[in-house]
């Protein structure tokens, strides 16, 4: 892992004044440690895509080992996608370069790199489109903003389409709704075609496909992990619970992101889910086949996304459940809310989700048949079925980060806030321009949460961290809540870097802390083993 | 999903708006330039016709300011002839009918000058039309 430079150095290096040069001349990009992700390995590409003839390369190399007919492949792939995606075609055609998006990107704000302006990121692709696919561009060339597809352009694409987290913040401000996430997704698909991909995305994709989760935890180890958590929960509450795994005929299939059973602090959130379900006496099951809510296919290609997502419905059908409940995960919910039903539906073997506890029917999930856990829990709280003691979270002064995908691809704003406000007494919002639909990315989404990219992650996370710092300074906020497993993995280093003294938690960890379980012993600590308020002894 | 129907409806609406003048003029008699009633007993206007057609509005505006604000009332044409700066006494002495002269062009060009907010048109008054 390359250590990022000091915060001072980073802040001093940011300059929003752009060079006077022509951006098309400002290539090739400079690949230096900390600003790029390592490429995928040839065997990964061959295994997952059936891609033949890939060779080892590094971004710092002069020769990227592109196939001989790489231009033809890109051209054909582009043509095909222009027909398949109206979004791409329209977004290529109608940008007026008004610049409204320019300073909306967290990577631009944190780096000042002109090509991180969303408009210019899209122009990297648009310039090729104009030259090769429009009449005017063919005639006028550079005058109309067209340029030739060279190997330098491929390098530029690799640099900047892997410096976009597909967070869609720019698309919110665009007068035409041009969505850089869509452009990045399709640009990455084009790069895939010539064997350009990152290791950090390919490995989780293959693990998810083969084993069932990003890290490749096999089913028996998954069971061990759950058993460890059950022990911890018993120690904490005195209650022994028995989470069902691959149980046929259960009413609900619960799919968490694997980050929640892999690493702290996500594990506490996972324990939170288990405690809540036990307390409710919910007839549910975990699955070791569909053990991953996250879907790095979203960051690879639409086809990869479909291949990975297929497991959810397949497993729901095999187990004969009525509906699916999904855990706290960001990009998972982009896939579930906007793609799953289209990709792998219709799920007519499932029933319209209905909470067995409150009887509430989740009409908003009547077709996809999958419910977000904060929707589920908000409904529980609203119907007063939980015995909650929010004072157990009194040592936490909490703020809430809207994860990009549930925010701008779903609109899940009030449910998590309602839950937090019912399980915590000290909740503070970050500045208005940085939350809800305007929320800033963690800086590490879309498959960029790898260590070799650390400096850019810290830069991209700066706007979010800075907003946390404001509530940290003003209200002594010491806990950043979120509903995304990647957030829970990447925020701890981001907070340590920019705002030391702020911890990270999932919403259901807070729920579990406040949840008074029937017959539990008097708790001395929270889920992390920290003494509860008044029990510091 | 292509939404071909919606796109087609949108296109048709756009084209209808775009071609509005074409179908608006359908079935109408072909457009004729206004035929103005010219004074029978006069040969020339205070300036040449071409100039008057383009600039009469400016001239009248100047006249009004000169007469009302500066108290002067003699206009000397390019030919050296002197005229009283008066819409009613000079202009409408020859062009007696507002309807047959002024309005013809003003209507077709959709111009609505505010001369008549104060002035009266001699012929129309005589005929009891105003």
């Amino acid at each position: 892992m390359a250590n990022p430079p000091s915060t001072d150095t980073v802040v001093k290096s940011i300059d929003y004044t752009m060079p006077r040069t022509d951006w098309m001349e400002d290539i090739p990009p400079q690949f230096i440690p900390n600003n790029y992700s390592n490429p995928a390995k040839p065997d990964q590409l061959e295994y997952f895509f059936g891609y033949k003839g890939a060779k080892e390369w590094l971004p710092t190399h002069e020769d990227w080992q592109l196939p001989e007919n790489w231009q033809e492949i890109i051209y054909e792939g582009f043509r095909e996608r222009l027909e398949k995606y109206r979004s791409l075609k329209v977004f290529m055609d109608i940008c007026v370069r008004c610049g409204a998006c320019a300073d909306k990107c967290h990577y631009f704000i944190g780096s000042g790199d002109p090509k991180n302006m969303p408009v210019l990121r899209a122009e990297l692709l648009r310039s090729i489109y104009r030259k090769d696919f429009t009449t005017v561009g063919r005639i006028l060339g550079k005058l109309s903003g067209g340029r030739k597809l060279t190997k330098e352009v491929i390098k530029e694409w690799y640099m900047y389409f892997y410096q976009c987290t597909e967070c869609r913040r720019c698309s919110l401000f665009c007068p035409y709704g041009i969505d850089t996430a869509e452009i990045t997704m399709l640009a990455r698909e084009l790069l895939n075609l010539v064997g350009i991909q990152t290791d950090w995305i390919m490995a989780p994709v293959i693990n998810s496909f083969n084993v069932g989760n990003h890290i490749g935890i096999p089913p028996h180890t998954f069971k061990d992990i759950v058993d460890f958590m059950v022990d911890d929960i018993e120690e904490l509450t005195g209650k022994r619970i028995d989470p069902p795994i691959n149980k046929k005929g259960a009413e609900i299939l619960f799919i968490p992101p694997s980050g929640d059973y892999f690493a702290d602090p996500g594990t506490y959130t996972f324990m939170g889910y288990l405690m809540l379900f036990h307390e409710l006496g919910l007839d549910y099951t975990l699955s070791t086949y569909a053990a991953e809510g996250g879907n790095f296919g979203l960051f690879t290609s639409h086809e990869a996304m479909k291949r990975l997502n297929a497991k959810m419905y397949a497993e729901a059908q095999r187990l004969g459940v009525k509906w699916i409940l999904g855990g706290e995960c960001g990009h998972m919910w982009r896939v579930v809310n906007q793609y799953m039903d289209t990709l792998n539906g219709p799920a007519d073997f499932l029933e319209v989700p209905r909470s067995p506890i409150t009887g509430t029917v989740f009409q908003n999930a009547s077709s996809t048949k999958m419910v977000h856990i904060t929707e589920f829990t908000a409904d529980l709280i609203r119907n007063n079925v939980l015995n909650l003691d929010p004072s157990r979270n009194d040592n936490k002064r909490v703020t809430y980060h809207d994860s990009c995908n549930p925010a701008r691809a779903m609109g899940l704003f009030e449910e998590p806030r309602y839950v937090i406000n019912n399980v915590c007494n000290h909740f503070y919002e970050m500045p208005e321009q940085t939350i809800r639909e305007r929320t800033f990315c963690c800086g590490s989404g879309a498959g960029l949460n790898n260590d070799e990219f650390m400096e850019m992650r810290m830069r991209g996370g700066m706007p979010r961290a800075n907003a946390v710092k404001q509530v940290h300074d003003q209200y002594d906020v010491n806990m950043l809540a979120c509903i995304c497993a990647i957030d829970r993995v990447v925020f701890p280093p981001l907070m340590d870097y920019w705002v030391p003294g702020v911890d990270v938690t999932g919403v259901h960890e807070l729920v579990a802390n406040a949840l008074v379980m029937r017959g539990e012993k008097e708790r001395e600590t929270d889920l992390r083993g920290e003494p509860l308020p008044g029990k510091e002894g | 999903m292509y939404d071909a129907g919606k796109i087609l409806i949108g296109l048709v609406i756009f084209l209808l708006l775009l071609t509005f003048p074409f179908w608006f003029s359908l079935g109408q008699a072909s457009y004729e330039s206004p035929d103005l009633q010219l004074p029978e007993d006069k040969e020339e206007c205070i300036e040449d016709t071409e100039w008057m057609r383009k600039n009469h509005m400016q001239l009248l505006d100047d006249w009004r300011d000169t007469v009302v604000r500066e108290g002067k009332s003699i206009y000397i044409g390019k030919g050296g002839k002197k005229y009283d700066m008066s819409l009613q006494k000079t202009c409408m002495d020859c062009h007696t009918s507002k309807e047959e002269f002024c309005d013809k062009c003003h209507n077709t060009a959709s111009v609505d000058p505010y001369c008549w907010d104060c002035h009266v048109a001699p012929e129309e008054v005589a005929n009891g039309q105003q």
């Binding site: 929003y16 005017v136 969505d179 609109g411 | 959709s110």
Partner: protein
């Protein structure tokens, strides 16, 4: 540099009618043939581009949600910024198209190195400038209908009266002419002065602005300074509309310049970014409801993919599963 290229191109477009209609006196060419061809090129080009977009599929429903989703009756949903109904989408689109709703959100980021502290100040100038330009352009376009209709529908008369309500000068000064010049100047200056805008601007971005400038200026010159006889112009324009073209002698070169620049805009329009006029209606992040989980969206080219089936997976892990006490399909 890019601005200079564009300026030269627009100047060339100004010189063509000055020479052709002015010096050479080809009035039929510039008064009849070019306008007809330009109009046809615009209509066909426009249809072509729209049909081309229409032929690409909309595989997924990907609205950008800018407000609370529809979930429970007790949570107030954002019916317009995150519409889940067709009516909501229609209102969202109307706000987007007529009032530039998204642009209204604009905020400018500032970095204070002490702290460091990022702040986001509301920034509505782009919204105001863009809206001012578009509204003025539309009103001016509507006002021109007096040349293409007879009798002139009263709606256009009202528009004109309203636009000239200040009653300044003769002919009456139109407010939209001042506003559009100011708006264009703002839109141009920000491209030249703001380093970010300068860096992203292409020659075509300046070209559109300079061309519009040239059109407005030539129009203003004609109306207030180098006077033309508008009754003769109406004879010409009505002749075009009624397909009985007639070219009066007295129509000046200023008019032909104005007309030629408008024709240039018409021809250029369908092949340029100006197609955002139609494109905004096609944006899948705005024109689709966020009802994905309620109503299934069908992808016309959806195809089966290679998956890792449960059966294959169990075969790989059966022993481990049994050992761990996890139920299996086949013993």
């Amino acid at each position: 540099m890019n601005a200079l290229y564009a300026l030269i191109m627009v100047l060339a477009l100004v010189i063509i009618p000055l020479l052709g209609a002015g010096a050479a006196g080809w009035h039929v060419l510039f008064g009849v043939i070019v306008p007809y061809l330009a109009f046809i090129a615009f209509v066909l080009g426009f249809i072509y581009r729209v049909v081309l977009w229409g032929r690409s599929a909309v595989p997924f429903k990907i609205p950008t949600t800018a407000g609370q989703q529809q979930s429970f009756p007790w949570i107030r949903r954002s019916r317009i910024d995150n519409p889940s109904t067709r009516a909501g989408v229609v209102v969202r689109m109307i706000l987007e198209v007529l009032l530039f709703r998204s642009l209204f959100r604009n905020a400018r980021v500032r970095l204070f190195r002490e702290g460091p502290q990022l702040s986001y100040g509301s920034s509505k100038f782009l919204w105001l400038g863009a809206l001012a330009f578009h509204v003025s352009f539309f009103v001016i376009l509507a006002r021109h209908m007096r040349f293409f209709t007879e009798p002139v529908p009263v709606l256009f008369n009202w528009m004109e009266t309203l636009d000239g309500i200040m009653q300044v000068g003769v002919p009456t000064l139109f407010a939209t002419e001042i506003v559009i010049l100011l708006a264009l100047a703002y839109l141009l200056l920000r491209r030249l002065i703001d380093s970010k805008l300068r860096y992203i601007s292409l020659p075509t971005d300046y070209f559109a602005l300079f061309l519009l400038f040239a059109i407005v200026i030539s129009g203003v010159l004609m109306r207030y300074f180098l006077r033309v006889d508008i009754v003769d112009i109406k004879t010409l324009s009505m002749g075009l509309i009624q397909l009985q073209p007639e070219v009066p002698d007295s129509v000046g070169v200023m008019f032909y310049t104005h007309l030629f620049l408008v024709c240039s805009l018409l021809v250029y329009f369908p092949w340029s970014k100006l197609m955002h006029l139609a494109g905004v209606f096609f944006s899948p992040t705005r024109n689709l409801p966020n009802d994905n989980r309620m109503r299934r969206h069908v992808n016309p080219w959806n195809y089966p993919v290679k998956v890792h089936t449960y059966e294959e997976w169990e075969n790989e892990y059966r022993d481990k599963l049994k050992e761990a006490g996890i139920p299996v399909e086949k013993e």
